[in-house]
């Protein structure tokens, strides 16, 4: 299934894309395996995701943990810890 993936802040800069549409393989079952799969897509991805523990992930705009099952989101977003206010 085609899934939209959004990247923000330095993840966007390192990957070189603000968004893309991907077909998630069956091996991607949770957030951890998602980040691992994305990291294998190229040097920019590997650099952006070199420290996956600090990357925040939202599935359909809901923040999730690394162990959260991936399910079938329409939209996935990856971003650094937030610095609003």
């Amino acid at each position: 299934m085609a899934t939209k993936v959004l990247y923000f802040a330095w993840l966007r800069e390192r990957i070189g894309l603000a968004e893309e549409t991907v077909d998630l393989p069956e091996t991607v079952t949770d957030v951890t395996t998602l980040l691992g799969w994305l990291a294998g897509r190229g040097d920019g991805y590997a650099y952006a995701l070199e420290n996956p523990d600090i990357v925040r992930v939202a599935l359909d705009q809901q923040l999730v943990h690394q162990s959260t099952p991936i399910g079938e989101p329409r939209e996935i977003a990856l971003f650094p810890p937030m610095t609003g206010g």
Partner: protein
């Protein structure tokens, strides 16, 4: 009471926003506001560029504002957060709470700010005065402890 949340590029007028919340009201006894401004960090920054996740930025602030409205007895709660390029001295964020008595207004403002800092998807990139490549502002541990205080 439904809080009002606005995420916008444009500046806002804190006095006008506050007056709009109290105009014609005779039951409000307290108004607390918080305004966050962009700092130059010792004249080294020419601007901060605020990036946000449209949709989720609004919903995360709304979630915090709704919890604040439930927890404290406020009559009105307004949150404005800007995005885009913001120069030192300019406003970034505004929270205004009105209530019968002061504690609820103070607490609601502080609660919203403490959660907004760590839970609302905004990121700040520095623009340097000397033209050099600015850094992304790091999240602060102090912001996580500020939030944790409401959870004890």
């Amino acid at each position: 009471m439904t809080p009002v949340v606005r995420v916008q590029a444009e500046d806002f007028d804190p006095a006008a926003e506050q007056n709009a919340l109290t105009a014609g009201r005779t039951d409000v006894g307290a108004v607390a506001t918080f305004t966050g401004l962009c700092r130059s960090e010792g004249e080294s920054l020419s601007a901060l560029e605020l990036e946000h996740y449209p949709g989720m930025a609004e919903s995360q602030i709304e979630a915090a504002a709704n919890r604040a409205a439930e927890r404290f007895t406020v009559d009105a709660l307004l949150v404005i957060h800007r995005y885009g390029k913001i120069a030192p001295g300019e406003r970034i964020v505004f929270v205004c709470a009105t209530s019968r008595h002061r504690d609820a207004a103070f607490d609601a403002c502080r609660y919203v700010m403490d959660y907004l800092k760590t839970d609302a998807p905004f990121w700040k990139k520095e623009h340097r005065v000397d033209g050099g490549e600015g850094e992304w502002v790091d999240a602060k541990d102090a912001d996580n402890s500020a939030k944790a205080r409401w959870e004890s």
